[in-house]
Amino acid sequence: MHEAAIVESALELILAKAEEHHLTKIRRITAKVGELSGALPEAMQFVFLNASQGTIAEGSDFIIEQVEATASCGSCDITFPIRFYHPVCPSCGGLDNQVLTGYELYIDTMEGD
């Protein structure tokens, strides 16, 4: 259940940012979570519900946008989705490809008053 540690870090970040911008209530938070990040959105939602209680983020919409995992093949000059962690080029079958997206784990935006 490492999502607990991840969400606690996220909340720390959110509350510090809110203070910086003099917010007294947070209404909406969006996070980008890549398919390869190792964090489960459902578990993150569950932890957030509990961890945010008693803070100015309590009751806010915690929206997790999943980011598809993709890679590019230098030889074939194509971008393709990755199945699990296997960055196999569907055209040439090569393995040595550049992973472009999928490891995201960040707070993107927040809204509040």
């Binding site: 490492h2 540690a5 970040l13 911008h21 962690y85 393995l95 960040y106 935006t109 927040m110 809204e111």
Partner: protein, 220 residues
């Protein structure tokens, strides 16, 4: 209502602590290994073999991560090397703060090789960098060869994948060909070393590999 663009890495706090830890590790010339696996794969047994083989040539310190007990730390301590126990009290992984605390209890002037034995868990530890130079993931043959496909992240990040308990292969349905093929797909750069703590197979190979790495990071 204000809308704020944040775009900040969620693991920022861990990353910052880890960066500080890494700076200290570099200053002291440490080569740092993060040793991970599921429970019971043989991490501590492999560590005991490596320590016994290398302790007269390399100054070794160990950080032992465990949920509650000091059993593993006691086993390591019996080999006469420095060891610090971290009890996570239910936590499924080690993080930067825990490593920072542990480092303050070690004599780093007297250390070339720091081995961090992470909590036995194939999932969570892979998400938290600890400032290591090398990740070693151990899989044992009794766990089944499907584990790299099922828990790819840890294997994907590893410099070495150890296949332990190879002496038990005849008694299991472990398919070594599939295992090698899966690792090749998930992480083509990983070095695979087959070991057995019962027969001693692979321990020399592992120790030679480590010695070479340590000498590169600590040139005489």
């Amino acid at each position: 209502m204000s809308s704020i663009k944040v775009v900040t890495n969620i693991l920022k706090v861990n990353d910052e602590l880890t960066r500080e830890n890494k700076k200290l590790m570099n200053q002291k010339g440490l080569y740092v290994i993060n040793l991970m696996s599921s429970p019971g794969s043989g991490k501590t047994s492999i560590l005991e073999k490596v320590i016994a083989r290398l302790k007269n040539e390399v100054k070794i310190a160990v950080i032992e991560g465990d949920l509650y007990t000091t059993k593993d730390a006691e086993r390591i301590e019996a080999h006469g090397v420095q060891v610090v126990q971290i009890n996570t009290e239910g936590g499924c992984h080690l993080d930067g703060q825990m490593i920072r605390n542990a480092l303050s209890h070690l004599n780093l002037e007297e250390t070339n090789l720091l081995i961090i034995e992470n909590v036995g868990n194939l999932i969570c530890p892979a998400s938290f960098e600890l400032g290591e130079d090398l990740i070693i993931t151990v899989l044992s043959t009794t766990e089944g060869n499907d584990k790299p496909q099922k828990y790819p992240r840890m294997f994907e990040k590893s410099g070495i994948v150890i296949l332990n308990k190879v002496d038990l292969v005849p008694y299991t349905n472990f398919n070594k060909d599939e295992f090698h093929k899966d690792i090749q797909e998930i992480n083509p750069k990983a070095n695979i070393i087959e070991t057995s703590c019962v027969t001693g197979q692979g321990i020399d190979e592992l120790c030679s590999w480590l010695k070479e790495k340590i000498s590169i990071s600590n040139p005489v």
